[in-house]
Symmetry: C2
Amino acid sequence: MAQPDTDGKKKWVYAFAPGSAEGGADMAELLGGKGANLAEMATLGLPVPPGFTITTEVCDAFFAAGNKLPEAFKADVMQALDNVGDTVDARFGDDKRPLLVSVRSGSRASMPGMMDTILNLGLNDKTVEGLAALTGDSRFAFDSYRRFIQMYGDVVLGVDHGAFEDILENFKNLNGFAADTDLDEESWREIIADYKAAIEREHGQPFPQDTSEQLWGAIAAVFNSWYNPRAETYRRLHDIPDDWGTAVTVQAMVFGNLGDNSATGVAFTRNPSTGEREIFGEYLPNAQGEDVVAGIRTPQPLTRKGARDAPGTSLEAAMPGAFNELRQIFDQLERHYHDMQDVEFTVQLGKLWILQTRSGKRTTEAALKIAVDLAAEGLISQDEAILRIEPTQLDQLLHPAIDPSADHDLIAKGLPASPGAASGEIVFHSEMAEALKAKGKDVILVRSETSPEDVQGMHAAVGILTARGGMTSHAAVVARGMGRPCVSGAGTLRIDTSAGTMRAGARIFKSGDIISIDGSTGRVYAGKAKMLPPQLSGTFATVMEWADGARRMKVRTNADTPRDARQAREFGAEGIGLCRTEHMFFEEGRILAVREMICAEDEEGRQQALDKLLPVQRADFEELFEIMAGLPITIRLLDPPLHEFLPHEDREAAQVAAALGMDLMRLKARVAELEEFNPMLGFRGCRLGIKYPEITRMQVRAIFEAAINAQRKTGQAVRPEVMIPFVAYRREFDVLRRVITETADAVQRDMGVEIPYDVGTMIELPRAALRAADIAGGPAGADFFSFGTNDLTQTALGLSRDDAAPILSNYLEHEVISTDPFVTIDQRGVGELVKIGTERGRAAKPDLKTGICGEHGGDPKSIAFFESIGLDYVSCSPFRVPIARLAAAQAAIKRREAARLRASPEQE
Amino acid sequence: MAQPDTDGKKKWVYAFAPGSAEGGADMAELLGGKGANLAEMATLGLPVPPGFTITTEVCDAFFAAGNKLPEAFKADVMQALDNVGDTVDARFGDDKRPLLVSVRSGSRASMPGMMDTILNLGLNDKTVEGLAALTGDSRFAFDSYRRFIQMYGDVVLGVDHGAFEDILENFKNLNGFAADTDLDEESWREIIADYKAAIEREHGQPFPQDTSEQLWGAIAAVFNSWYNPRAETYRRLHDIPDDWGTAVTVQAMVFGNLGDNSATGVAFTRNPSTGEREIFGEYLPNAQGEDVVAGIRTPQPLTRKGARDAPGTSLEAAMPGAFNELRQIFDQLERHYHDMQDVEFTVQLGKLWILQTRSGKRTTEAALKIAVDLAAEGLISQDEAILRIEPTQLDQLLHPAIDPSADHDLIAKGLPASPGAASGEIVFHSEMAEALKAKGKDVILVRSETSPEDVQGMHAAVGILTARGGMTSHAAVVARGMGRPCVSGAGTLRIDTSAGTMRAGARIFKSGDIISIDGSTGRVYAGKAKMLPPQLSGTFATVMEWADGARRMKVRTNADTPRDARQAREFGAEGIGLCRTEHMFFEEGRILAVREMICAEDEEGRQQALDKLLPVQRADFEELFEIMAGLPITIRLLDPPLHEFLPHEDREAAQVAAALGMDLMRLKARVAELEEFNPMLGFRGCRLGIKYPEITRMQVRAIFEAAINAQRKTGQAVRPEVMIPFVAYRREFDVLRRVITETADAVQRDMGVEIPYDVGTMIELPRAALRAADIAGGPAGADFFSFGTNDLTQTALGLSRDDAAPILSNYLEHEVISTDPFVTIDQRGVGELVKIGTERGRAAKPDLKTGICGEHGGDPKSIAFFESIGLDYVSCSPFRVPIARLAAAQAAIKRREAARLRASPEQE
């Protein structure tokens, strides 16, 4: 809040200078984010260029008065400006030692680039000469002046910036100059004259030579920019109220180009690539910040150590005083901010000025090391260390990556559907992928889109590339589940499977050509890209261990194969939350029996086929139970529509008919009979088992025989969880629970072993969520709920995952949604259903186990939501298990923190 | 509750006799439904055969004692039996005037046919001779005796009834008898001897000659039948608790075959076909009830008037005393029961006995007349009259019907998908249907299933028959909307469109063969069936008028065409609740422009095609606005997936490509591009308009230009309601509301007329129901919600309507559901979403208009639910408007009644 001045007037202006500031970090409401931060840095004693902040209350007064600056505050500003001049030995408007200032906006919330900024204010025809003399660099002085005129003309006086660009372009053309750097002092003088003439012509008034007039104009312009369309749109999108207004910060300009005892640079307090505790960064002697950006001169290293690997004298050697001051400031900053900092600094005539400090960006590896080190140094707690890591970043560590420093031949860009990178020969057919893999080749399976029939081929491939489908298309989901890199929806590629070609613009790639894909970026390259292998450091293990100690929710994995299960256990999975039995059905040697079962004329025929499937399915489960060694496994009964298993192309149908000794027409008739308008909403899930209980019986027998065998072998108690999919009505659950119980009882009797087991259901339909109390309640209700948020999202939103990609991209464009609802759960819609289902289920059965097995189980934002509604576990694909462990820990820490704050509001 | 007797013992037995009864209609808990009703009839003074009821408490005691009758109550029974004998001048076990009784079960809730009954109890080797002497009909007496032995042997002694049937069959075969009626007294005597031998052999004990022993055995058997599997299943399905138990009623048998002054008959107090107030029915002199059923003798009319049209002497003439007594009793019954009664009576030796009275079944026409007359006679109120009509019965009146009295050649049975009947030539192609219609032929369109491309053909046909699809398949929904009779899902038919044949078993029907379908029963006949035309009586109008006065909800119609709109207004629709603009798109002369629009390369191309559609769409709307003359019309923006409009067969695709001057491959590519895995969850609804706002602009322009033109023409103020379909997010609504507002403003400016309008949305996705407050709230939220319960059912249940038929039939079989959720709303699932949507929407916007436009809008049970949650209106297909008006009135009356009861619980 604004403090009344001694004479009762409100305080309009808050000054800051090294070692002292009016206001501090907690006054962003009044001073804006920037002003508050500068005040804090100043209070810390950092050598920030002095300045002052004009409060948001002045902004209010400005608009209340009809876009007029209150006269009363001008004297305060002039006084503050004098104090600034004293600090830097300069004076505003002075010909000899002119004080130049920047004028910037500063809202309570960050609105990067949305409002206006003016630099070098205070230059005029006279002070520019002073600056030239002072710096000994006339060219720099006049270039600065023309920049200021241009900026001021555009922002304050409303002269179209095109006018200035035209003048400069014309001048360069007339004089044969290519770059701005070709222009000398004289050239800039001429341009300045033209600029001033343009302003007088367009604006009707000359460019103001009175530096005070310049200042009032600039302050008013910044205030007015609060209502520019760019800023208004930004506020609407980010729910920032109009009446917050903006503060204005006026700060002395400092120059790193005043000779050899001046410099400018950027530094990190620790190594942002490795996380090592060492000063890292670069500087340019006798230069301004723009010179670094322009890239004309090669920056030099900061430290002697750094100079061993890079050319040029280090700052440490060239300006030991400034360097030592910088080093001390870095320690101070880390102690204050408790994090690695990214600092911009300028040395002006030997004096160090800190322009900005903020948390530094870093690689995942560095993030882990810094967090662990900061905790070891006592600067942060373990909980804080956990919170410092962005969970999705871990992906980088778990997969090989394409070396970003190498040159690659980019041919297309799709969606980063499954992380990791791979190089291999193009193949267009799944069978070919398997055949080539058998020969030891690395292949990339390239398809317009994939279907369940491609699963074996995807497994055989080192990577998958599709032209159609989104982040949650079949290709993407299966690839993530398998841990295969995948780029999906690379829409510019034209894939002709029958011709065996892939067109990328004018280029044509054929079967056998080598390409590389980067599933973390969606990029596709011609040829073999240079790879970086995955590396899991000790700090990774430390952070995971801390996370496991902090989280409440268990983390399971979605795994259908021994390979997935092993991978997931390596990554720390605490069980299998979803084992999809149908994936097993597609494997060679089984699919034929599955097809025989589907095409059977009667129950007897089905039973014959099921008898063939029983031993293979049992063997699959047995291996899974052995690998998971007593950890819980939720096995879902057959779910997908049966026609997914049948051949849809004539050639294949003929082969299958021959193999089954079946009339081709009858096979085709069965395929046609099972075809559906909307298979997602069709004959699938529990509907299959209710119609053909013999399928359920076979699966349950396989599960229990496998469980008992595995238990005998490993000595670990096994407790199978049998999951009934796609339930909407309690009675569906009852019908199948009875089949399960009868079969399980029979197996236990036959084998003479009793094992405890649970029967639960997937909650993946809105009706199931609403009727959760029915489904869990009473005797023999569901023992567990596993929320199938993929299908729940499809049904709640009325959006087919396989058809969603073009719709979602249009919706992202129109800001209907901000994130893909198949990636991050739609909390307010789908999330409410999960919440309702959990609450009602638990009200009916307090010890109901609840978890999630949709794609959202591996998404940190979604995991935070699941923590907030108290689910017992999340289950995700193997490669997301570490991410989920970390995200679950963060969610739990934040929830505890929030609970603590609620419990003791007075403490805060 | 059982009253203690004077000596403190519980009262086990409640007697009844004409003019007096212990207990009454309100004691069903103790006496069972039957016992309570008999008590009530007796109390009224009706001449019911005397008897007594053994309470459910005896049943409890029976089971508590291990299936033993309490000794204490036997004396009471024998005393009651003596009293009964006194009343009818007979004695239990007496050789001369034997009292025969029936022993029947009677539960608190009706459980028809689930438990056991024994007739003619009291016959033995001696009393049968007395009965023979008394009736002068030995054959009758011995036939009755052998029936009793058979029934008793089966029910009480547990002898397999097959044993008795074998004896009878053998006897008939040996003696060359064809029918039971061929057997004389001697034959029955022989059979009785064989029956008794069979019992002694199977049961190990002789058939009991002691009539008391017979009675105790029969009572115990009835009690035991409470736990027979049939009864247990029935109770489970109807939630009847096991511990209710059953009462047992013992009642004197009376005989209408004791000579010429005896008779038996059935009468209605009013004419059940026409509703006329006249005694209606028939009787047989000197006969038992079985004789009427056996159909050997032709019954005679009751009244002299009836005798004018039927052969035989009337009861009125033959037995004037009994007839007059009957007439007085009928008046008394109607005054007491306030309804037309169906009465069974017997005259025994000149004395009239009433065996049963209940509300009589009647035709719809009679139901209307009786209700109106009873109200006019002051016997019931108008509200009660309204409640007396089963709304769905009205369907019979609104469509022609197949004459049930004529013989027809039934060839298949499907679902009664759209009521009414039709005869016509078989056609298999929609184009052929149109061509033949143009030649004046009546055709039945026969398809495996229909798609939107068939709409014109369906319109041209007089009826539709499909082999696939349920009550809410495309064929069914469109047919109901059009008022075309439809039989869907006639699964035994094999339709081969290319061969032009329909196989029904071994019979083959070809194009041009005449068939008839009855959409009210699902029956399909070969040849032209005899039809009854629809007739709307004055009483229909009266009931509708009363209903309109009683209901709270408005009734609108779903209508897309002027024909539908006119029909619906005739049936009393108060507006259009759903006008689907896409149906207009399929009409000839438009579909090409629609296809051009869909296949356009860019917005400009789309706009060119839309410019062609604008005038036709405007003309459609204009006619609708004129017909509805100021009544509200909700127009839904384009909803279905675009590929529904494109040709899918090669031949048609080539034609379309030629007509559009478009490359065939490009057309096919576009078709492929728009194809979706799950079109129901795909690129449709508001997603179309957000991607292609120019389509929305065209439609909105057409709506507003039409509205202003119609307003000018009719002078009636028009207030269009523009409906945005398939909304899940508020922002979708906002994006399209802006397009609508801008276009509507432009039209109003252009035409210089301002008209008020509303913009609302269909709530047809679970997310929309949950986020209803977002969608309705704040400035420019939705002005109305129309619940699209078809799609809401599909998404909430995860069940595609077009694929549901086989799943639902399996579910009905397994009792997962009791009614098709697409016909009657799933209250506990989908209904909760409608309720949530209504509550949250109204909380955010109190004056939000709410209605329903799914198929459920025409279903009485669903309408009752919509009344209970306070929707403002329902909208249904034109032919269901009268049904909805009546159902809405009934729902409102019941709701008011319930509210009244809640308000004054003490009164009741």
